[in-house]
């Protein structure tokens, strides 16, 4: 690790950045100071809107359009970035400082080969010849453990996997041997099993090339594996900064402590029931296809009354499609489904209104699930009128009851979704589903767009509602922490098939089915040294 005597690569002092919103400037970064030495990795942790990316980009001397620096200084190896002209700053980027974005898919141009894009800056501004740059790129591909490093660069972005593309982007950032790299949530868009590989590669090259790095993430477990020090940002201010071990052991600021909210939720104990639950939904031999591609095959699934079944799997495993088939949004190609003992018609149009009422969906993104031009009253009130024929005072009374159930109140009824926070929006979506008085609610990643504290609140509320109303949940998620907190039974999916299902305790305890084991092993622990153990385990 870097000693305190080595000169600072990056020194940010009392940085203030303002952004223009509608007609006035508001401060989004309020006096942030950070120091970074050679070979050091600083984790920048915080929730959406905390100003992490803004600070990260400012370290590159870049401000987003509509933002301006109103004070402070950003010194990169002694050069004041805020004082030099834009042209000089531009020349530094890619050569002295580099950036790795969250989505490599969006960052690479799909019509050019990887090698051309990776070596572009090195040839253009880095003063390397094309042959030298390509040689360096191949060395980086090797260091990043990419397959077939000699020929990897000849491929187009769509010919490599998401994890490989993310590593290719790291290669692009490292090509000029920069002094500082900013990683902006580089693994957030990846599946957990892929995330581990990318994390291992990133850590390896940082150590090998001795570069200073800022690692931006909202995931404390990830930052614990990679950073030496962590700065926790909230509302554009650093609320806590400490070495990683210290912050993991004794988080001091209440806000930092709240990042453990979901992690610290008690795992619900599925009461061991002597008599099996009355089945609400049972699915047998279900299949579905897009064209000739089989997205679901041989799905057997049972959900009991008042039971929470968690459906886990990586992206592309078919878990969301299964939810859509049950909801009637996609017709199955094989198999049958029984709901409360009666056959469940495959198509939406064949289902009577009463049946539609009994199965409700809550979506991942409340932003698109709520009509932006309808008030909360119209959104939640509509099912009341449609299913129960409630109008006027009776409807209003029930509406307020529902809003209270989801921990909102009557004052929210007149608001538009745009005037609510992310957590409040998701609560409105939940209230809309509850308004139908359903027996089964399909929850499709309903907490993954929310911050940790809000996630914990929403999960706690969902557990309470289930106990009060006796409703069943099909909880589709990729987050095993959420599963631990809420599920009775777990169904693990891979490549459109169910690989394992059973009581949560049994699925999560060894011995594991191989894929489940790999999935569980890939989720970073909220502790320093987890990645070291993985690497050590592999070497052994």
């Amino acid at each position: 690790m870097a000693s305190d005597q080595s000169p600072a690569v990056l020194e940010i002092r009392d940085l203030r950045i303002e952004a223009k919103s509608s007609d006035h400037w508001s401060q989004i970064v309020r006096g942030v100071s950070l120091t970074l030495r050679k070979g050091e990795v600083l984790g920048l942790v915080g929730e959406s809107g905390a100003g992490k990316s803004t600070v990260g980009l400012a370290a590159l001397g870049y401000l987003r359009p509509g933002a301006r620096a109103s004070g402070g200084s950003v010194r990169l190896m002694g050069t004041e970035l805020l004082a030099i002209p834009e042209e000089q700053r531009r020349r530094l980027r890619g050569t002295k400082v580099a950036y790795v974005a969250q989505s490599a898919q969006a960052a690479f141009n799909p019509v050019h080969r990887l090698m051309d894009q990776i070596t572009l800056v090195a040839v253009d501004r880095g003063g390397l010849s094309r042959a030298e740059a390509e040689k360096r790129a191949v060395a980086l591909f090797t260091a990043l453990q990419l397959p077939d490093p000699q020929n990897f660069g000849a491929r187009y972005p769509h010919q490599v996997s998401g994890g490989q593309l993310q590593r290719a982007m790291v290669a692009m950032a490292m090509i000029c041997n920069p002094a500082l790299i900013v990683f902006d949530e580089p693994t957030t868009a990846l599946d957990v099993t892929t995330q581990v590989e990318v994390l291992i590669s990133i850590r390896k090259v940082i150590a090998e090339f001795g570069v200073a790095a800022i690692y931006i993430t909202h995931d404390l477990a990830v930052v614990a594996q990679i950073a030496h020090r962590v700065a926790v940002l909230r509302y554009g201010e650093v609320v806590e900064e400490a070495p990683i071990a210290a912050i993991m052991d004794h988080p001091e600021h209440p806000y930092t402590q709240s990042l453990w909210a979901v992690h610290e939720m008690p795992a619900n104990d599925p009461e061991t029931q002597e008599t099996p639950r009355a089945p609400l939904l049972s699915v047998e031999g279900l299949g579905a296809r897009f064209g000739t591609f089989e997205v679901l095959q041989d799905i057997d699934l049972r959900i009991g009354r008042g039971e929470t079944v968690a459906l886990v799997g990586e992206s592309g495993s078919g878990k969301s499609t299964l939810g859509r088939v049950i909801a009637g949004l996609k017709a199955p190609s094989a198999g049958r489904a029984l709901f409360d003992g009666a056959a469940l018609p495959p198509k939406l149009r064949q289902r009577p209104l009463e049946l539609l009422r009994r199965i409700q969906i809550i979506y991942q993104s409340a932003d698109t699930a709520l009509n932006p031009r309808q008030t909360v009253r119209a959104i939640v009130g509509r099912p009341l009128t449609l299913y129960q024929g409630l109008r006027g005072v009776a409807r209003e009374k029930r509406l307020i009851e529902l809003l209270r159930m989801v921990e909102l109140d009557a004052s929210h009824a007149d608001r538009l979704p745009g005037q609510l926070s992310g957590g409040q929006k998701q609560r409105v979506a939940i209230a809309r589903a509850l308004a139908a008085e359903p027996e089964l609610i399909i929850c499709d990643e309903i907490t993954s767009a929310l911050d940790k504290v809000v996630q914990a609140d929403v999960l706690r509320m969902m557990i309470g509602l289930k106990e009060r109303l006796g409703v069943s949940y099909l909880f589709i998620t990729h987050d095993l922490e959420v599963v631990r907190a809420i599920a009775d039974r777990v169904v693990v999916m891979q490549h459109g098939r169910i690989v394992e299902q059973g009581e949560k305790g049994r699925v999560f305890a060894p011995p594991h089915e191989p894929y489940t084991g790999r999935l569980l092993a890939s989720v970073p622990d909220m502790a320093v040294g987890w990645l070291d153990r993985i690497i050590a385990g592999r070497a052994a």
Binding site: E47, G49, L329, I361, Y363, S365, T368, D451
Partner: protein, 292 residues
Amino acid sequence: MDQSIDARPATPSRLTRARRLLATAPFTARLGMVLLAIYAFVAIFAPWIAPYGEVEVVSRIPFDGWSAEHLLGTDQLGRDFLSRLIFGARNSISIALVTTLISFGIGCLLGVFSALIGGFVDQAISRFVDALMSVPDLIFILMILSIFGNSIPNLILIIAVLTSTRFFRISRAAALNVASLDFVEAARVRGENLLWISVHEVFPNVLPLILSELGMRFCFIFLSIAALSFLGVGIQPPMAEWGSMVRDNAALINMGDITPLIPAASIALLAIAVNFVVDWLLNRVSGLNEEG
């Protein structure tokens, strides 16, 4: 932006919002609005403003020059030119307005339906609309009017149908985007019918985009009517209409009199005023939306 910050205060009243909106309008938009207000005033109060009747022959001298008695002189039949101009505003603007609204109704409803239903129905309607759009409007109108006869209801109907193709295209495109959003799917799963989804879920979200088109189409309809009248197949005499006033008095231009150009200028000014306002609305729609 920040999830944990508590929500903004509730919606300010409509009046405050309208006033705030007006305060941020650029000079051109304000000018456009003032001009439109003047046009509307003249159109509504024409009988009280005009010094003489619409078809009243007030002078025995046709093409009389400007005088204190007849501010803009008289036309080819000895009617007061200023009075005809004022009544012309009333006729032209009201017909154009009705036509715009009808075409707006037909086009939007079909467009949103088409986007929501998709498949064969969408293809059939879209190709039919393409076929309609492939024939130049003016020629189409002339053809239809010569078959079904030349009356104001016919004129309104044919122009409305042709213009509705534009509304169809834009509302369909906008509705396609909205129809893929989760709240529309949620409404389907809830068991709502097509009409309800169109009117309550989709339409309010595509309206801002179409509103700007509305102003633009009004201009074009106005110009079509004027052009048709100028050709002699639009609004028929003795009804006053700006397009036909230009044609009827065109001979005066040869004598160095600019009077016939005044109705033409009125048309141009109205088109400019509407465009000023529409431009500003378009910018607001494409730029930052208040409701995010």
